[in-house]
């Protein structure tokens, strides 16, 4: 009996021991399997998770280079910006308080109720709260939130663009799109140079977010972009913008432009257009305002072209300021009747008189001394039909048709600037050659760039090319000086103390949709340079489709005078004191 009981007990104990062993074995097997999984199979995944938990990675945005004017005044500059994001699961509860702080700092830039909607967005852990605000405003917001112990709002660093002068030279400078890429103007042309390379920083952090000393960290420094120095004088540019704007408004015109060139260096000092946009305030971003009028808009120049026709003839020795020309009251060519802008009978004008009075008929008669090919060849020499080399995006080449297809009427109208389409920059380059003693050069708007290391690279220039003789250029200058005399078509262009050469233009406008001239619709312009006896600056003013009774001499010439006076003053150009030539206008 006792023996049986003991044997049974021993059996129970043994079974218990076996069961315990089995349990322990199973537990150990489970641990072993898990260990094998962690250490053997999922090693890299767990290592990455561990590493992620302890590291922080940030993008260090590259500082975009500045665009400077000729005196180093910033036209476009960059500053630290922030985009605020939020995790709605953390912000939903306190959305009104957070929105209140944002509204207090950012004012009307943000909408209180939109903010609350964003901060309470359901089923989301990431929303943009407000984009592209200056870092100092973001700091105020974050300080406010920290003080109120509100969490869930985060910052993303970025670089923002600022245009301190607003709309001044906006079309020349261009702007950035939402992705930070340059659109239009210098921002687009020099995007690679300006943008630099973003950097990054990855470092180990403690659970509280402090950087761990001596722990692994990887820092790739950002490379800032280079600065681009333009040839623009920001004060002159602003003054021209302002003057042109008033004139365009007064004339009720569609648009206007004004360009000033230093004829000795071929540097563009100002390039204004109205209407324009404001890249800083991000207003006026429509095609009509962001287009670069001076380079992209093609129009018929009208009578300013007469100066080029006379230059071609003078270079061939076929005309001088006193060459007598019999001007009829009208002419019929290929069935078209062509007249002058004013009614007259037979006139005996000199070549200077033809230019001074802006006679179409006198110009036609003079131009008949050269054939189509010669005229085309000279127009090509003056750069019509080719880009100016200013190197800005979207430049047009204008329309200069092959002379093989010219009729007599074409030859006649092209001589006074109808039937040929140009850009303002082409006109500036062409007349610039007359001002510069017959040497044509490529206008430039950028003098050079400066790398972050301080290395300056000047913009390469092609050497000026002599396209007409110096005598021819001087001869045409004399004719153009007659324009600004009291008997000429633009006495309003006179600048006291200085000799001024110029040419007015009043062209029929072509409707771009129909390709036909629009009756009563004009493009008025004035091209001039001063001092005429030692040319330094050339200014071209174009005002398109003025509603009022406008003319080159009456509407554009006063704008020219104001801009040119300011340019002469700012650059300290002394009047030469030489008397203006008394060229006879008739014979």
């Amino acid at each position: 009996m006792t023996g049986t009981t003991r044997a049974r007990r021993a059996g129970v104990v043994r079974r218990r021991v076996q069961i315990s062993l089995a349990v322990v074995l199973v537990v150990f097997l489970a641990f072993g399997a898990r260990l094998l999984q962690i250490q053997g199979f999922d090693t890299s995944a767990y290592a990455a998770m561990a590493s992620d938990a302890g590291t922080r990675s940030t993008v260090v945005p590259a500082e975009r280079g500045q665009i400077l004017d000729r005196n180093g005044v910033p036209l476009a500059t960059s500053y630290d910006g922030i985009t605020l994001t939020a995790d709605p699961t953390l912000t939903a509860e306190n959305a009104p308080r957070i929105a209140g702080i944002l509204r207090e700092v950012l004012g009307t830039e943000v909408d209180y109720f939109d903010l609350i909607d964003q901060l309470r967005k359901p089923d989301s852990r990431f929303v943009y709260v407000v984009k592209d605000i200056p870092a100092w405003q973001a700091d105020q917001v974050m300080d406010g939130l920290k003080e109120a112990e509100l969490t869930g709002v985060f910052v993303q660093h970025e670089s923002l663009r600022s245009y301190p002068n607003g709309s001044v030279a906006a079309n020349l400078i261009g702007r950035l799109n939402n992705d930070g890429q340059g659109v239009g103007g210098l921002e687009q042309r020099y995007d690679d140079l300006l943008s630099g390379t973003d950097g990054s920083a990855t470092y180990s952090v403690s659970p509280t977010g402090e950087k761990i000393p001596l722990a692994d960290s990887q820092v790739t420094d950002m490379v800032p972009g280079s600065d681009v120095t333009t040839t623009i004088d920001s004060d002159l540019q602003w003054y021209a913008d302002d003057t042109l704007s008033q004139a365009v408004q007064a004339a009720g015109a569609d648009w206007g432009l004004a360009v000033t060139l230093d004829v000795q260096t071929c540097e563009v000092l100002q390039m204004s257009q109205v209407p324009t946009f404001d890249a800083d305030a991000k207003t006026g971003l429509t095609d009509a305002k962001t287009v670069s009028r001076g380079l992209q808009t093609v129009y018929e120049p009208g009578s300013v072209m007469k100066a080029i026709t006379m230059a071609a003839l003078a270079d061939q020795g076929k005309i001088s300021p006193t060459t007598p020309i019999s001007v009829p009251s009208s002419m019929s060519i290929d069935g078209f009747t062509i007249g002058d802008a004013w009614n007259h009978g037979q006139l005996n004008l000199t070549a200077a008189g033809v230019i001074a009075k802006s006679s179409n008929l006198g110009t036609i008669i003079a131009s008949q001394q050269m054939d189509d090919e010669t005229m085309y060849e000279y127009l090509s020499r003056f750069g019509f039909g080719t880009k100016t080399g200013v190197g800005l995006p979207g430049e047009s080449v204008g329309i200069l048709t092959d002379p093989a297809g010219w009729s007599k009427a074409n030859h006649a109208t092209i001589s006074f600037g109808q039937g040929v389409s140009v850009t303002a920059m082409q006109m500036v380059r062409a007349v610039g050659a007359i001002a510069n003693g017959g040497q044509i050069c490529e206008p430039t708007v950028v003098s050079g760039s400066r790398s972050p290391e301080g290395v300056t690279t000047p913009t390469p220039h092609d050497a000026p090319k002599q396209i007409i003789s110096q005598e021819a250029a001087r001869s045409v200058t004399t004719m153009m000086e007659a324009v600004t005399t009291d008997d000429g078509s633009a006495p309003a262009a006179q600048i006291p103390g200085y000799r001024v050469a110029g040419k007015t233009g009043t062209a029929w406008r072509v409707d771009p949709d129909t390709g036909r001239y629009v009756s009563g619709s004009h493009t008025v312009s004035f091209m001039g340079f001063a001092p005429a006896d030692a040319p330094r600056f050339l200014t071209y003013v174009v005002i398109d489709n003025p509603t009022a009774a406008a003319s080159g001499g009456g509407t554009a010439a006063p704008v020219f005078r104001d801009i040119m006076s300011m340019a002469l003053q700012r650059f300290g150009i002394l009047p030469t004191g030489a008397p203006a030539p008394q060229t006879p206008l008739s014979w």
Partner: protein, 145 residues
């Protein structure tokens, strides 16, 4: 270890004690003179100083490590604080530059100049410093339109 030489001395003494039977003649006296009692070697080097040295080295090392670590930590916090301050000052500088650029823009300057009654003079006069010659006729700027 220290016991061994003592034993050998005893042994040689014992050997010496049995020797007179053979070496009583000449060498006996000299040999007897050479034998002497060697002072027993010290029992065991004391352990206490060694332990003290080790403990001291370890303690100094540990304290040094703690101090170094603390200093580094403090420097990390200081670095973080200074970086924060630097970035805050950079932002402040940018804000001031941003405002200054705007106030220095030609439009702002022109408005400010008009505001204090200044008007542009369209007929400037030039003075040649070398000859003292005045070019142009000095005329007061016209009244504002």
């Amino acid at each position: 270890m220290s016991a061994a030489p003592a034993r050998s001395v005893v042994r040689s003494t014992a050997r010496g004690a049995t020797a007179p039977a053979r070496d009583l003649s000449r060498a006996g006296a000299a040999r007897e003179r050479a034998l002497r009692i060697v002072a027993p070697a010290r029992a065991r080097a004391r352990r206490a100083p060694f332990v003290v040295v080790v403990v001291t080295v370890l303690s100094v090392g540990l304290v040094g490590l703690v101090v170094l670590s603390t200093v580094l930590q403090n420097q990390a916090f200081e670095l973080a604080r200074l970086q924060q301050e630097s970035s805050s000052l950079t932002v402040q500088q940018q804000q001031l530059q941003y405002e200054a650029d705007r106030q220095a823009s030609p439009a702002s300057l022109a408005a400010a100049a008009s505001g204090i009654g200044m008007i542009p003079n369209q007929t400037p006069v030039f003075l040649k410093p070398d000859t003292g010659e005045i070019i142009g006729v000095p005329t007061p700027a016209g009244s504002q339109p």
